[in-house]
């Protein structure tokens, strides 16, 4: 009888699919491996400089950026964002009433996992939740006013290190895993994943563009892009990436977009906020 049980257990072990490292969710270990990959590949780039994206990869581009930053193209958005942030809603309240520390210097804590809704809340979503709670219409998630508001909030947080938490909640871990999966999944007719450009090819060129490393890639958002001729949010950036590989983009602030921002922001923990940024 005992022999039969041992045999059955042995057969069961053989039949069970092998558990690989990819199947377990360990954000801390992932983050270390992620950071090590970039720092080993680019040993001359100081850790905090990765947040400057393509400028950390290309000396000539960096020189141009330094010149451009004397009169930053996001300045108008920044001024508008400050004004919007300080202007009371019709009910007399302001954005400051919705956020910890009155909304100043808090960008590094977003996105966060909201245990009540079971979803990832980005700063953009939190801003629209604030508006709706105060009887205002939500803003478009891709540009203009939303980009201006987040630009101002990022500016007040410059230099503060990303501090993204992933609570020990299966829903938070699932959101993290979904974000990771989205980041590494190839899509579109060109069969590219986010990682194809930002993990496998940072520093390389696609046409005239220098590809940014994924480490710290979210720290500069929102950004002014010369290609857009204006400001854009994280959603706009992701939508552009999807379209460029001939994939139909998701809706702005789709749950998967929020999850991938959660994943990338966690990977950037400890790196300073540098937004709003300017990119070619």
């Amino acid at each position: 009888m005992r022999r039969a049980v041992v045999l059955a257990l042995a057969l069961l072990c053989l039949a069970a699919p092998p558990v690989s490292a990819a199947d377990s969710i360990n954000p801390k270990a992932d983050s270390k491996a992620f950071r090590d990959y970039f720092t080993k590949r680019f040993p001359k780039v100081p850790l905090n400089d990765f947040v400057n994206g393509p400028y950390s990869m290309d000396a000539d581009l960096r020189k141009q950026w330094v010149e451009i930053d004397a009169f930053p193209p996001y300045q108008f958005a920044l001024d508008k964002g400050k004004q919007m942030f300080e202007t009371p809603f019709k009910n007399g309240k302001t954005y400051a009433d919705c956020f910890p520390n009155k909304g100043i210097g808090i960008r590094q804590n977003y996105p966060y996992f909201d245990a009540k809704s079971g979803e990832v809340i980005t700063l953009d979503v939190a801003l629209n939740q604030c508006r709706q709670a105060n009887g205002e219409e939500p803003l478009d998630y891709t540009k203009d006013d939303m980009a201006a508001l987040t630009a101002y909030m990022a500016f007040t947080s410059r230099g503060k290190p990303f501090d993204i938490k992933i609570p020990n909640d299966p829903r938070a871990l699932a959101a993290y895993r979904n974000g990771e999966e989205y980041f590494y999944t190839r899509r579109g007719q060109l069969n590219f994943s986010c990682a194809s450009c930002h993990v496998q090819s940072p520093g390389d060129h696609i046409r005239t563009e220098v590809l940014a490393p994924a480490l710290g890639v979210v720290a500069a958002l929102p950004i002014y892009r010369s290609e857009w001729g204006g400001m854009g949010t994280t959603s706009r950036r992701l939508i552009t990436c999807n379209s460029q590989v001939r994939g139909v983009p998701l809706k702005p602030e789709d749950e998967l977009y929020r999850d991938v921002e959660y994943y990338l922001s966690y990977m950037s923990n400890g790196l300073p906020i540098s937004g709003p940024g300017a990119r070619p």
Binding site: R186, R187, G188, Q189, S243, G247, V248, L250
Partner: protein, 104 residues
């Protein structure tokens, strides 16, 4: 002799006309091809993995059909279906393949 030649020509022309009528695609043929392409596109949509080029081909199919060019319209619809099927295959393959790319 001349009459015989004319008869021969008439027969050839009639046969050609019949053949053309038999080969030309109809609006029904187009509708069937378009429906198949749309079904594949919707399946890709359910997997959140549609390609922009599928829509481009579907629009071209519709435009050709509106102009009465059903042969052309069917070609575009079939291309759209092939693209949609490729995007479905990509999604299914990537459902597990993404793990191979993760930094370890």
């Amino acid at each position: 002799m001349r009459v015989q030649a004319l008869i021969r020509l008439a027969v050839v022309l009639a046969a050609t006309g019949l053949a053309t009528a038999a080969l030309a695609a109809s609006a029904d043929d187009f509708q069937a091809a378009y429906a198949k392409a749309e079904a594949a596109k919707n399946q890709a949509g359910a997997l959140k993995n549609q390609w922009t080029t599928t829509d481009t081909e579907l629009k071209a199919a519709k435009k050709a059909a509106d102009a009465g060019n059903f042969d052309e319209a069917i070609k575009h619809a079939q291309e759209a279906e092939a693209l949609a099927n490729a995007s479905i295959a990509q999604a299914k393959e990537q459902a597990t393949a993404w793990k191979n790319a993760v930094i370890r």
